[in-house]
């Protein structure tokens, strides 16, 4: 990860387990940009994204006991927390706005221009722009929009097996990219 960590992850986890307020501050300083980016990618709205970011930190703080370091990295868990909150938010908004029939994809192009710009992250962001469209599409559908594999197959009008193999290829592509840039 390209972030500057002032503290070892184990120590940070210990702070959070002990409900030490410094833990959540360090967490915010280290991860708020990454989480905010994921949230904004999903909810496509700065204002809503700010609310969800706040909910995310509250949830991380309050439900930290649910984090099991044996099952994966802290960041993976936090992305999952903010992803779930974001998808819930989008779906509840979709219910509210169902008459407007505003799909998520139609908002993508708009929100991309609105998100704030971090010069430090230019290199990393390239992958988002340069990833093959069919790879980007499948990852975004499954990971950011919470589609199940069968929903994705239906949406993209491809066989279920192709959803899997294409996802594997997409992530393989990501892996190669990040391995070479480290």
């Amino acid at each position: 990860m390209g972030r500057q960590t002032k503290i070892e992850e184990d120590d940070l986890i210990q702070l959070l387990v002990n409900r030490d307020k410094r833990g959540i501050e360090i967490l915010y300083d280290n991860y708020s940009s990454a989480l905010y980016g994921v949230i904004n990618r999903i909810v496509q709205n700065d204002e809503v994204a700010e609310d969800v970011l706040q909910e995310t930190f509250l949830k991380i703080w309050n439900n930290f006991a649910q984090y099991d370091s044996a099952k994966g990295r802290l960041f993976t868990w936090m992305v999952n927390v903010c992803r779930n909150l974001s998808i819930d938010k989008v779906r509840s908004k979709e219910i509210v706005n169902q008459n407007k029939n505003q799909s998520i994809e139609s908002a993508v192009s708009i929100s991309d221009h609105k998100t704030s710009y971090d010069p430090d992250l230019i290199g990393v962001r390239d992958i988002v722009k340069n990833l093959e469209p069919e790879y980007k599409q499948i990852i975004d559908l499954l990971f950011f929009e919470g589609y199940s594999q069968s929903e994705a197959a239906e949406k993209l009008n491809i066989p279920l097996g192709t959803v899997k193999t294409r996802s594997r290829a997409a992530i393989q592509r990501l892996r190669n990219y990040f391995d070479s840039s480290k």
Partner: protein, 264 residues
């Protein structure tokens, strides 16, 4: 299925992106425990997704930091308000313990109360049992006395019975007795009405006098309860009572004659 084949199917990516249905997810997690290479593969996929997530990073407005961190505070305060719920829990336990103790006190008191009541009842029961036994004894006494009185009456009222009055030979004394003599059966009874209690080693003896000759009719006791049977006497002109050494004498001690009565 071979684990490599399983990995190549893309299931790891589906799991990492939360796209599996619950059944597939459970199956995957089970395999995750069995195959270290599956876990390693998952870690790599998650890492790629983490990196990809991070690629979207954008800084939130700087003002948001204070706002969000402050919002944690009330939540902390709320948490410590949640703590009283735990205290409430322990309060519930306290109430439960208090209730248990109260129940213990009540049941101890009840035990003591009923035990003393039981003791009391036991005592009363014994007393009643004693009373009952006493009554039974009394009844037996009365019954015996009644039976004896009835028997006495039968003797006295028998048409064949003759009553002979015996009076003091010393006219200054009011000693008195009666003889009931059955002329058919010759059964003889004495009813002592008034005689002094004899000295130690002495006993009264009844004599029937036939033609001036005394015949031993037996010794008797001083008792106030009814008539006493003595020896059967076929015939007698007169009856006399003398005081003799205990067990009686062969012939009467005449200077110790207390009573005398003529058969009519």
């Amino acid at each position: 299925m071979d684990i490599k084949e399983y990995i190549n199917s893309g299931v790891v990516e589906m799991y990492a992106m939360h796209a599996l249905n619950p059944q597939e997810k459970a199956e995957f997690e089970q395999k995750l425990l069995l195959y270290p290479e599956l876990k390693k593969e998952l870690q790599k996929v998650q890492e790629s997704l983490d990196d990809y997530s991070e690629s979207h990073a954008s800084n939130p407005r700087p003002e948001l930091r204070a706002k969000i961190l402050q919002s944690i505070e009330p939540e902390v305060a709320k948490k410590s308000k949640v703590l009283p719920i735990r205290e409430n829990n322990s309060l519930t336990y306290k109430y439960l313990i208090a209730a248990c103790l109260a129940a213990l006190v009540v049941s101890t008191f009840a035990s003591w109360f009923f035990y003393s009541r039981w003791n009391e009842a036991e005592d009363r029961y014994s007393a009643l049992l004693n009373d009952k036994n006493q009554l039974a004894k009394n009844y037996n006494l009365v019954k015996n006395e009644y039976d004896r009185n009835v028997n006495d009456l039968i003797v006295m009222r028998d048409q064949q019975s003759t009553v002979i009055q015996l009076f003091s030979t010393d006219t200054t004394k009011n000693f008195e007795a009666r003889i009931y003599w059955n002329k058919n059966s010759h059964e003889s009874y004495i009813d002592v009405l008034a005689l002094p209690i004899p000295d130690e080693g002495k006993q009264y003896q009844l004599w029937a006098l036939v033609g001036g000759k005394p015949i031993d009719a037996g010794v008797f006791e001083i008792t106030l309860s009814g008539i006493q049977r003595v020896k059967d006497i076929p015939a007698a002109d007169a009856w006399a009572v003398t005081l003799e050494p205990k067990g009686g004498s062969v012939s009467p001690t005449l200077d110790q004659m207390y009573l005398l009565g003529k058969a009519s």
